[in-house]
């Protein structure tokens, strides 16, 4: 198939089949996303922006279906449990460093970051 056009008579080919999800799958997904990202230190604001980001299709759809208020409640509930993180800032070991100036770009366009937040989205 990769080198030929799809064969429409092949019953296994994906031609737009819906495998329906359980009711409540969106709720489960919303909790799963909120928990995972709360556990790696996302703030309430950043978590909510993740749900608003169409790139994260699952989270985005959950927001569309459940509504912003419900998502906010989920985020707050999740953060109370999984958001109690201790951050440890650790320096790289001595002797393994490279001169940072050799790596730094000449443009100064670093986005503002809140303290203790890691930006995982810069590569998108």
């Amino acid at each position: 198939m990769p080198y030929d056009d799809p064969d429409p008579t092949d019953p296994n080919m994906l031609i737009g089949v819906e495998a329906p999800a359980d009711e409540g799958s969106n709720l489960e997904m919303a909790y799963a996303f909120a928990e995972e990202f709360a556990a790696i230190g996302f703030s309430e604001k950043r978590l909510l922006s993740l749900f608003h980001q169409p790139f994260y299709a699952g989270a985005y759809r959950a927001l569309q279906i459940l509504g912003e208020e419900k998502i906010k409640t989920i985020i707050q509930e999740t953060l109370r449990l999984w958001g109690n993180f201790r951050f440890v800032v650790r320096d790289a070991p001595e002797g393994f460093d490279v001169p940072l100036d050799s790596l730094r770009s000449t443009q100064k366009s670093e986005p503002h970051q809140e303290e203790n937040e890691v930006d995982h989205e810069s590569s998108l």
Partner: protein, 422 residues
């Protein structure tokens, strides 16, 4: 055919050979909830074992997107279809999930790949129901799984402006797979040369290439399609469970059993591999402080992949929480609801054991938990939750401590000035 006991289907079944069990069995647990399909496992395996000419299509470890994807394409759909044809409407489970280690998930009332062969295949030498995937099905793992295909009829180009698609209420998850080193391997059963054997020390299933003549009966018979044919050597090959590492003979292992390459490379920390003790009847011997025994037989959160096929696979999966239950029951058997109920409401011990994943590359033989203080008490999703900062301590084969890890794990952030100092 002999009669052998398969605890995963809760009953005796037919198998071409008498049951023989290793001293310890290679087994693993994958927590699918954590898999992001980064393919680090896939590439770790590829770059170690299958980088040579003639092995281009071989991915002993792979990650596929479910429900659509598969490597080779549609492997599970096709084998389930064959069994359904052999035994229409009969592929069902009876009984109920229990705590009996001899029938944890009830009884499978349908036909396994061996039983269906016995009843429906001719000649008598055909021992296993299976099929040979086509070259096209092997050639492009992950094709069209997560990628847009572009405009119909236009090759190698995506839509330039993007396409507005209707919002579907879809779901998917990533399924990481390697050879399951089954207790009753389909590949071993089908080989007319007896070139495939199960090692008595660790249950790893190996293929003796000096005995193999490339008949591809193993490729046809393995329902998980983890035996693969190599055209330029004209013999088949399969996952060897990185046995030098598991034996502790790999130079890096310093004599201690070490987890396989795919396990060690897992950045999502979803994999744990071990060697479990077996009873004389093939069931798992009680080993309360073994993390795999705990996950499979005590917490019962980890389930075998397609247990109804009858090979008693030794790969176990913690099912993804958000996926429709009917699909999960087909894939992991009737234990799914109990597994997810426990996983969603993890108790103190389960939370601690889940922390043991991927803190070390050494194989864990035993764990202990040191109780810590209560760090959270409150309501979550309508239930009272208490979280204790317990310490999980892992021990290796020699009984020495490998590492210790806490439930409340600190998150290490590399300071800005060291962001690029790798």
């Amino acid at each position: 055919m002999s009669r052998v006991y398969n605890w995963q289907i809760g009953r005796e079944m037919s198998y071409p050979y008498e049951a023989k069990f290793p001293q310890r069995q290679f087994a693993f647990v994958f927590n699918i909830n954590r898999c992001i399909a980064c393919q680090s496992c896939t590439m770790a395996c590829k770059s170690t074992w299958t980088f040579s000419k003639g092995q281009e299509h071989m991915w002993w470890a792979n990650v596929e997107t479910k429900p659509y994807g598969g490597y080779p394409q549609f492997w599970d759909v096709k084998i389930l279809e064959l069994l359904e044809k052999a035994n229409p409407d009969g592929q069902r489970w009876t009984g109920s999930v229990s705590d009996n280690p001899k029938s944890l998930y009830g009884q499978f009332a349908g036909q396994t790949i061996f039983e269906a062969a016995e009843k429906f295949l001719e000649p008598q030498s055909a021992r296993v129901v299976g099929y040979l995937p086509t070259d096209e099905e092997w050639n492009s793992p992950n094709i069209y799984e997560d990628n847009p295909a572009g405009k119909t009829g236009v090759r190698n180009r995506l839509h330039e402006t993007g396409e507005q698609l209707p919002v579907h209420n879809t779901w998917f998850f990533y399924l990481a797979r390697i050879c399951n080193h089954c207790t009753y391997p389909g590949c071993l059963a089908a080989c007319p040369r007896k070139a495939i054997y199960k090692r008595p020390e660790d249950g790893i299933v190996l293929l003796d290439q000096s005995q193999c003549r490339g008949y591809r009966k193993c490729v046809e018979a393995c329902p998980y399609k983890k035996s693969m044919y190599r055209g330029n050597t004209r013999v088949s090959e399969k996952c060897i469970a990185c046995y030098p590492r598991v034996e502790g003979t790999d130079p890096e292992s310093e004599g201690q059993p070490m987890e396989t390459r795919c396990m060690a490379a897992c950045i999502g920390q979803l994999r744990m591999q071990g060697l479990v003790k077996l009873n004389p009847d093939g069931t798992w011997a009680e080993d309360r402080q073994h993390p795999l025994y705990y996950l499979v037989h005590v917490a019962k959160v980890a389930l075998p992949l397609y247990p109804q096929l009858g090979t008693a696979p030794n790969g176990y999966y913690i099912p993804p929480r958000w996926v429709p239950r009917e699909y999960l029951r087909q894939m992991f058997g009737p234990g799914v609801d109990r597994a997810l109920e426990r996983y969603n409401n993890s108790d103190r011990e389960l939370l601690a054991v889940l922390q043991l994943f991927r803190r070390s590359n050494r194989i864990i033989f035993r764990y202990e938990i040191e109780e810590g203080p209560l760090i959270y008490e409150g309501s979550y999703r309508g239930k009272t939750v208490r979280i204790y900062n317990d310490t999980a301590i892992a021990f290796g084969k020699d009984g020495k401590e490998l590492f210790r890890t806490k439930v409340e794990e600190p998150l290490h952030v590399r300071p800005a000035k060291h962001q690029n100092s790798i």
